[in-house]
């Protein structure tokens, strides 16, 4: 539970209690319920209309927020997961495969954080190792070969900081992923659906169109990490969250993403399918926009897009 959602959740649980009690069918209770429902609705609206950057970090990381698998289930038909980097192993932190998006063949990939302890461990909390990024490269190249677009769904705290990951060249795997993305002769559309955590995110988010869900975050370092380095204490994570300009609004303002997808009232975790449908619609529009470009034009435009990042002041 998120701290700032507490009053909302308390109100909602009261409403449930009243509902259960209302089998005694007193008119008063029904009235009370509808009065409280309006109040709860207003409270949600109020809370979510003015989320601070630090609160958005919490929403972006919410355990009930729709994850990669939720999107696949709702957005992709005939999903056919493909495993392995052909070099060392399979990485379940970054899932990818073939599927059908709005009837069209696509390669789709993204980090899966997991939904419970067991699946979180299985997916390494969505923190990919070099194998994940090398699999991503393999699938991107396959998409290029078969002239089908790539959709990436980004949701990671970052690439995994581990002994084996370093040993097998985490840096090289991320760098090469970016390079492959930049030069890919097929459209790539990325949606930041939760956390866009630094290098681990950009590795699969160097795209023609970059979409962010409204309460997602995209950052060069976690607010906690930033605070402990620059403020010398993780207690300043709130300040860091503000300073880093990691919200979707800031990202759009700074010219680093292309569009924002509004979240349903109270965040994507309250109405998962609605949120997913909106992301789907935006990806669909983006693919449509890109469909008229030749492979060379795509690459040229992608280079130009990233080349200007940092040139203009917001």
């Amino acid at each position: 539970m998120l701290d700032f959602e507490k009053p909302i959740l308390e109100l909602e649980s009261k409403i449930r209690e009243l509902r259960n009690a209302s089998s005694d069918d007193t008119l008063n209770i029904a009235e009370e319920i509808s009065r409280m429902e309006i109040k709860a609705q207003r409270l949600i609206q109020h809370t979510y209309s003015k989320l601070t950057p630090a609160q958005k970090v919490k929403v972006a990381r919410h355990k009930d927020r729709p994850h990669f698998h939720d999107y696949i289930k709702n957005m992709i038909e005939d999903f056919t997961p493909l495993a392995g980097d052909r070099l060392f192993g399979e990485d379940l932190a970054l899932i990818g495969g073939l599927g059908r998006f709005n009837g069209q063949s696509v390669v789709v990939m993204g980090q899966e954080k997991g939904a419970d302890t067991e699946s979180r461990l299985k997916h390494n909390f969505g923190m990919a190792r070099p194998e994940g990024y090398r699999k991503a490269q393999r699938l991107m190249k396959m998409a290029e070969q078969f002239k089908i677009p790539v959709i990436t769904l980004v949701d990671t705290a970052g690439a995994y900081p581990g002994l084996g990951a370093e040993e097998r060249g985490q840096s090289e795997a991320i760098a090469k992923s970016i390079e492959v993305s930049l030069n890919l002769k097929t459209p790539i559309v990325s949606a930041i659906i939760g956390e866009g955590g630094s290098g681990g995110a950009i590795a699969i988010a160097t795209a023609d169109r970059i979409i962010m869900l409204a309460h997602s975050i995209y950052s060069v370092i976690s607010p906690e990490g930033c605070a402990s380095i620059l403020w010398r204490s993780a207690d300043y994570a709130k300040d860091a969250a503000g300073a880093l300009k990691l919200t979707a609004e800031d990202m759009l303002k700074n010219g680093l993403i292309d569009s924002i997808v509004k979240e349903p009232l109270g965040g994507a975790h309250r109405q998962k399918e609605k949120a997913i449908r909106r992301v789907q619609a935006k990806i669909s529009d983006s693919l449509q926009e890109l469909s008229s470009l030749s492979p060379d034009q795509l690459v040229e435009a992608r280079h130009a897009k990233f080349l200007q990042m940092g040139r203009k002041a917001a």
Binding site: P161, A165, E166, S181, C226, L230, A243, L307
Partner: protein, 352 residues
């Protein structure tokens, strides 16, 4: 003593900066072997410990100088970028950090770019200045790398990038993150034009710098003992709750794990890179200085004389400047080796 076995981990970060314990600042203690090094010897040996071979930090100016033939190059002016785009402030304002770093280094940001020759081959070198906010990569560094790449293409030269950086510049938020793909767009221009892209990894190369342009070179070279990795050692130790091997993330570790082509000591860098460039540029003879079909235009505009001229200049007709410099250097070296024997504390010398 083998320098590998005497490579002492905890001291690795405290490179230089220990002069205070040493009398008169004339002597410096090697952070790896604790051997005493006389200051002139330090300069003559390009800050490589003559006891154990430990490579210490050198200034970015020195770095760029020792890569180019005869230390000759021309600085490439880098474009300005919007400053402090996020109005970032932690305990200190980013603009003030920039001000301090500029005052300290007399440079605008953490990258300097030079055009010259290496092994007679035209090359653009883009070197990171670790003294400028830890060599962190923000929009200015990204712009510098792109400019370096564009210069290489325009001048039909190789691109050599020399990172020495803690990673992305946090004070520029996601703008600094985007310099990862942006720098690779630059590198791609050089690759597409068919010129070599070499990365010389120096201490330290980590984070967003290591995970972008630094790991997509045609050839990766590293200086001995340089620390190169994605995640910080402490972060990894906290994550896996395990002690890491002593040589973890060193140049030698990367060599063993297939991430770099070779580890080359500082005094061999110019020769080695020169040789590689000559081999790689073989089929690009049209574009090399000796090429018979050199297209008109660009080469004549370069500040460098034709290679043939240069060779003649250095072989037969050494300029007075070169002569003076060589004389001075030789004299210094002679003076140095004599003085060492008498001045180095005998105990210290004996242990090596």
């Amino acid at each position: 003593m083998n320098w590998l076995s005497s490579y002492i981990r905890p001291k690795i970060r405290s490179i230089v900066g220990e002069q205070k314990d040493v009398p008169d600042n004339l002597w410096q203690k090697c952070p790896a072997c604790e051997g005493m090094i006389f200051h002139r010897e330090m300069t003559d040996n390009d800050a490589v410990c003559h006891h154990c071979g430990h490579h210490m930090k050198i200034t970015v100016q020195k770095r760029i100088e020792l890569l180019f033939d005869q230390g000759e190059y021309s600085r490439i002016k880098l474009p300005n970028v919007p400053e402090d785009p996020l109005k970032f402030k932690d305990k200190k304002k980013y603009v003030d950090r920039l001000k301090d770093s500029r005052a300290k280094t007399k440079e605008k940001d953490a990258l300097i770019v030079g055009l010259g020759r290496i092994g007679g081959q035209k090359a653009v070198v883009a070197a990171f200045n670790f003294s400028f906010m830890g060599g962190s990569m923000g929009a200015a560094v990204g712009e510098g790398l792109v400019t370096a790449a564009q210069t290489a293409v325009k001048e039909k030269a190789a691109l050599i990038v020399v990172p020495s950086s803690g990673g992305a510049r946090m004070q520029e938020g996601a703008i600094s993150l985007m310099q990862m793909p942006r720098s690779i767009v630059g590198v791609t221009m050089v690759k597409n034009a068919g010129f070599p892209y070499i990365v010389l990894l120096t201490h330290p190369t980590t984070g967003g710098v290591s995970a972008s342009f630094a790991m997509v070179g045609d050839i990766h070279i590293s200086e001995p003992g340089a620390m190169i990795g994605f995640a910080g050692k402490r972060v990894i130790e906290e994550t896996i709750r395990e002690k890491l091997p002593d040589d973890f993330q060193t140049a030698e570790y990367l060599l063993e794990h297939g991430m770099v082509d070779m580890v080359v000591s500082r005094d061999q860098l110019n020769t080695k890179i020169g040789k590689i460039l000559t081999l790689l540029m073989e089929t690009k003879k049209d574009y090399t200085p000796e090429g018979k079909n050199e297209p008109n235009g660009s080469s004549e505009q370069t500040p460098f004389p034709d290679n043939k001229d240069r060779k003649e200049k250095t072989k037969g007709n050494v300029t007075s400047l070169d002569k003076a410099r060589n004389k001075k250097k030789k004299a210094k070296k002679r003076h140095q080796s004599k003085k060492n024997k008498s001045q180095t504390p005998s105990q210290k010398t004996a242990t090596h």
